[in-house]
């Protein structure tokens, strides 16, 4: 009983995702994004880095990277705490 309800829900989710896939913009033609164009044109002059992706990760959006570093630190803390009695 429970399994059949889950199965119906899964089929609904899959159907909605595939319908949404047909409704998306065509592959290879994204919407005009002024933010990305600004980054591409000005990143070299403002941060001095040739790689635009790195300049976004570490300069324009540094808070994301800070959160990522915190998550990684917490994961290591969790693993070390789980095995505290096994590993000396």
């Amino acid at each position: 009983m429970k399994k059949s309800i889950f199965g119906i829900a899964l089929i609904f989710v899959l159907a909605f995702m595939i319908l949404a896939a047909f409704d998306m913009r065509p592959f290879g033609e994204p919407t005009v994004s002024e933010m990305d164009d600004y980054y591409i044109q000005n990143a070299q002059a403002e941060t001095g880095a040739n790689n635009v992706v790195t300049s976004i990760v570490f300069d324009y959006r540094g808070f994301d990277t800070l959160g990522e570093a915190t998550v990684l630190f917490t994961a290591v803390l969790g693993i070390t705490a789980l095995f505290r009695e096994v590993v000396r």
Partner: protein
């Protein structure tokens, strides 16, 4: 996009879906993890074809060695 590049995109995506399907249906856990590694490899090739070499290197460095190592440690510790 030339038709050859389009063919390569579609071939890589189809192969990745086949590998992911194998990772789901195989009973032997080690075989499932091998199929997952193949799916990760083909996903990295797809990132490469979509002109994202940064993400391709990250997926290569993490999906090739580290994910496999972690899964095999877990399988080894939970084997009857």
């Amino acid at each position: 996009m030339s038709p050859m590049v389009a063919f390569v995109h579609i071939a890589v995506l189809v192969m990745m879906i086949i590998a992911a399907f194998l990772a789901v249906i195989l009973k032997n856990l080690l075989s499932a993890v091998i199929a997952l590694s193949a799916a990760s490899l083909l996903l990295s090739l797809e990132f490469y074809l979509l002109h994202a070499p940064d993400v391709a290197i990250a997926e290569a460095g993490i999906g090739a060695a580290l994910t496999m190592a972690i899964f095999i440690f877990a399988i080894r510790a939970t084997k009857k």
